[in-house]
């Protein structure tokens, strides 16, 4: 610290200088904040006139510190000390400021060419942030030249976007006062330039961890803006059926109901046995939040759709009600001899087919019923087909155990069956998505549009639409009958890693390497929710049947449950010890099942997460305290505290879990590829 005049200035003078500086630089928010604080303190009002008195004062006296690399490092060390010494209730919040300050100091040092100092700085302090920002630290540490700053994706984001931090007003005051008192101008500058501090007036003076996590980080929106953003109206209810479809279905069901009753007169006495007709109408009763049918244009319904709906209703009656006391049965499909080439697995909705996408660019489909797969022969002539039996005769005579679909020219990264189980859509490194018929096992359409590898694909819940997620940072919406995308969802700051349709088909959810989850409206193509909170890429998404609860998980081994209506985090579920690959809600939405690279399937209680909010607050806070202490040697085990909501863990034998899925009757199916130990490990 070089000796400067400010040291001898009285408080009041200093305030003026700071205020002056703020107006000069145009930091209006901070200025306003500062004014308010001063007023609160001294009961005086500083008008602009007062300021003029000291306007000649040079605020940053050519900033001698800024060219001295050591002063950067010592400033950071001071800040660190302050935060460490502050009271526990503020510590948590203040720590949030540390990472952006750390990152920007590092970038500054690199930019000014003090590479050695930068490296030392990184070495000395990176352990502070490893727990939460591990991959960001890695991204930072590879930047070793001023030029990289202009190229590196992460550096550009940090420099060009403001970093959101939400602090309580006391913490903010504490921080700013400290920075001023100790003349940590470097940090003050960074805070001003790159941080967006959102002050919240909170009577308890501390904030809930979930609130903080929701907005921290670079989102492209200011923290307050994000809250407003997530207030946009969304329609999360089920999609109302077509009126004509409903009429027809009702007629058919009435007949069915009378048939059922006449067949089984005893059941008439049973009061709790509702008719099929009631079942179907019950589905759409709660339609206050339902989207307009016209918002999701779908082709007119066919006779087979009614048949499918009726079947679904029958299945519904056989559904096992799952909950914390009734855990599911899980059938596990282990794939052998894959030699690490199996990338993804998908199971059809009726649980009759299982498909796998391979690194060698092909897709394989097996039957789960133990039957051979029989394709139609290619001499089907519509004029000769009048009945179902005619069609059956046109299938192959012998069939085969599994069918191989060849067409892609790069590793297949995603697969999704259509809801009627007649089509399969796949995506690949070769930048295309392809639609396959499961009747003929041939390629029907090749969709080109993405300019980079496609990571994931999901068929819409009503068919017809599907969505893709790509390396090119966009997700796109397609309909089966158009070879170009209908919507391009752009906004993520890094790769879009996964995509999932909302159950009413009106929205698409995407998870990205920028640690955000976004929800997009397919009608307008606009983003309607931005949700942060993950500490790594988001690899998997799931939405509950009722459309209100969303779960996301990924690289950071955590599963986060969110309320889609508000975009707020409900609960962070910890327990997995490696990347989570797959998530799925049980039908009815009481349980969440997850599977991942740690070779386990875990079952979580969703209802417990919805009920007691207060409990969660304390438990997480404790956990954060225990694990992210500044400068403490961290025990990586303690970070993996098991959440109470975890109901069960089912380990497999060296089989990472690629996919979990619930059948309509709530049987859980899981699948993964058995990994052999390499010779060395044996």
């Amino acid at each position: 610290m070089s000796a400067e005049q400010p040291r001898h200035l009285p408080d009041k003078e200093l305030d003026k200088i700071v205020l002056n500086y703020l107006t000069q630089k145009g930091y209006k928010h901070t200025e306003l904040m500062f004014r308010n604080e001063i007023r609160a303190h001294a009961g005086e009002d500083y008008s602009m006139g007062d300021m003029n008195a000291v306007s000649g004062y040079q605020f940053f006296p050519t900033d001698p510190d800024s060219n001295n690399p050591d002063s950067y490092i010592s400033s950071y060390a001071d800040l660190r000390k302050l935060i460490e010494r502050s009271m526990d209730i503020y510590k948590l919040e203040l720590r949030l400021v540390m990472f952006p300050v750390f990152a920007h100091i590092y970038l500054d040092l690199v930019f000014k060419g003090f590479l050695d100092k930068a490296m030392n700085f990184m070495e000395e302090f990176k352990s502070d942030h490893y727990e939460y920002y591990g991959d960001n630290i890695r991204k930072l540490s590879i930047i070793t030249h001023a030029q990289h700053l202009q190229e590196n994706e992460f550096a550009i984001t940090l420099r060009s976007q403001k970093y959101n931090v939400r602090l309580s007003n006391v913490s903010t005051k504490l921080l700013l006062n400290f920075l001023q008192e100790n003349k940590l101008y470097i940090i003050l500058r960074i805070v001003n330039q790159y941080l967006e501090i959102e002050e919240t007036v909170n009577h308890q003076q501390t904030l809930m961890m979930s609130d903080i996590a929701d907005v921290t980080g670079v989102t492209g929106y200011s923290a307050r803006g994000l809250d407003d953003f997530n207030k946009q109206k969304v329609f999360l209810g089920p999609l109302p059926p077509e009126p004509t479809f409903m009429e027809e279905a009702e007629q058919v069901l009435k007949v069915k109901d009378t048939q059922l009753n006449s067949m089984d007169p005893q059941s008439l006495g049973d009061d709790d046995l509702s008719t099929l007709l009631e079942d179907i109408t019950k589905d759409f009763k709660d339609s206050i939040e339902a989207p307009d049918r016209n918002d999701v244009p779908l082709p007119p319904s066919k006779g087979s759709d009614i048949q499918a709906k009726i079947e679904e209703l029958f299945e519904l009656r056989h559904r096992i009600k799952l909950g914390a006391s009734t855990l599911p049965s899980i059938c596990f499909y282990t794939f052998h001899n894959t030699y690490d080439s199996l990338n993804c697995i998908s199971i059809s909705d009726d649980a009759t087919l299982i498909a796998g996408g391979f690194s060698e660019s092909y897709i394989k489909i097996w039957s789960l019923k133990g039957e051979k797969l029989k394709a139609f022969m290619n001499n089907v002539r519509p004029t000769f087909v009048s009945e179902v039996s005619d069609l059956e005769r046109l299938r192959e005579q012998h069939g085969s155990e599994c069918k191989r679909l060849v067409g892609h020219s790069g590793p297949v990264f995603g697969l999704s069956f259509s809801p009627d189980n007649r089509y399969l859509v796949t995506c690949s490194e070769d930048k295309t998505a392809r639609l396959w018929s499961v009747d003929t096992f041939t390629n029907l359409v090749c969709y080109k549009g993405h300019n980079y590898p496609i990571w994931d694909v999901d068929f819409g819940p009503y068919g017809f639409y599907f969505a893709t997620a790509s390396y090119d940072r966009t997700a796109r919406l397609w309909s089966c009958d158009h070879i170009y995308p209908l919507r391009i969802f752009a906004g993520h700051l890094s790769d879009v890693d996964c995509v999932k349709f909302h159950p009413n088909s009106r929205y698409v959810l995407t998870g990205s390497s920028d640690r955000m989850v976004r929800m997009w409206d397919i009608q307008t193509g606009r983003c309607v929710r931005i949700m942060s909170g993950h500490a790594g890429a988001v690899q998997s998404l799931a939405v509950s049947d009722n459309g209100h609860i969303m779960a996301s998980a990924g690289e950071d081994k955590k599963v986060i449950l969110r309320d889609l209506r508000t975009g707020k985090t409900l609960r962070k579920l910890t327990g997995h010890t490696d990347i989570v690959y797959t998530l799925e809600f049980s039908r009815g939405g009481n349980l969440l099942v997850s599977g991942g690279a740690d070779q386990t399937v875990r079952v979580w209680d969703v209802n417990a997460c919805l009920s007691d909010q207060s409990d969660y607050n304390t438990s997480t806070t404790n956990m954060e305290n225990g694990t992210t202490g500044v400068g403490q040697a961290r025990n990586s085990e303690s970070a993996r505290v098991k959440s109470d909501e975890m109901l069960a863990t089912f380990p497999t034998k060296r089989t990472p879990v690629y996919k979990v899925k619930f059948t309509r009757r709530n049987l859980c199916l899981a699948a993964g590829a058995f990994t052999k130990l390499s010779e060395k490990e044996q």
Partner: protein, 443 residues
Amino acid sequence: MAGIFSKETIKTTAEAVGITNINDDVATALSQDLEYRIHEILQEAIKFMRHAKRTKMTSDDIDHAMRVRNVEPLYGFNGSDQYKFQRLTTNYADIYYLEDDELDFENIMNVPLPKVPLDVTFTAHWLAIEGVQPATPQNPIPEGARANTHTADVRTERPAPSNGTSMEVDVRPLVKHNLSRELQTYYEKITKAVLSEESRLRVTALNSLKEDPALHQLLPYFVQFICSKVAEGYEDINVLENAMNMTDSLLNNQSLYMDPYLHQLIPAILSCLVAKSLGSPNDTKHWDIRDRAANLIQSICVRYGVQYYTLQPRICKTLLRAFLDISKPFTTHYGAIVGLSTLGREVVKLLILPNLKPYSIVLEQELVHSDDLVKRSEAQRCYNAILLALMTLKEDAVSSDGKQLDELRDPLEKRIGQLFANELISNGHIDVTMVILNSMAED
């Protein structure tokens, strides 16, 4: 600063492409940039690794990462090869290089093609049943059991795949299997009791095996025990009898999942059925053991034959081979005949009848001409067994169309030989005769 790549590395690399006078500063700047670029490619490659759901990076990931960055990928590297870096010491510095052998085209052409890798298959098992993980071989040993038991090394077998066709060739891992102390004590008690002289103890033990629902953990050990007792017990008829009793109990235990162990049990049972000699030569009890074994085989076929459709044909094949081998003693023949006849009338019709004529000559020779009394009685047993097998055909009876038995003698003799034809006709078994003749007509 010290990066991964030294200035010297840059300089030598530059020399390799013909740039000799490279400036120090340039080299430093280049090495920094090189490091950055490599990190960048790695970051991209990690994405490809993650989306392929692997935790190990392959050279393909690097290739894809380079392609996505618009860089020409490095050709000629693939995961299976081992690469060795060689060091070369020059005046200035050590140079490391990748060894790139010259290969003789002839040699490459002559290398036999590698084995075709096994095709991808899948197997299904229950990971959990209503929230409880069953203790099947496909599931790992639960943590709790690992904590307070001591371990025993056992080779646990993977169960036969349920469809019976896809062969599980990949692994038979040596798995540590844990047994609680209670189970171990139980195992010792039971095995001792089963072999004891005291019949009350034996019966209790066998009943326990039959009723107890919680024996699954011990099942591999019991199966092992039975197999070893049968293998070493040819001399002692009682041991064999007890082993068969045990097998019977285990098979009848409703709560045990026997499927994975059938392939171990069946050979043991078959041994008891068709072995050359069981017990001491003068003891005739071994006939009973054979009958017992035949019944076990029958019950296994009935119970598991539908699920594992190759089971019965395989057993039939083994027995038929024993039956047709004239060099085998009559004891073996007897076992084979009894075994086949318990497997049903179709088996008798298809496998015994066509071979009866040649076999009757062998028997006749022994029955009529041999002076060895023991051998003669053995032959007599075989003869009786065949008759019994033929009698089972009665149930297929068809009407005789008013034909007289004597009219049928010629075709019957042609079919099954004089010996048995005489027997059938003299006892007036017209129904059996008709069945035999009809089955011939079907052929």
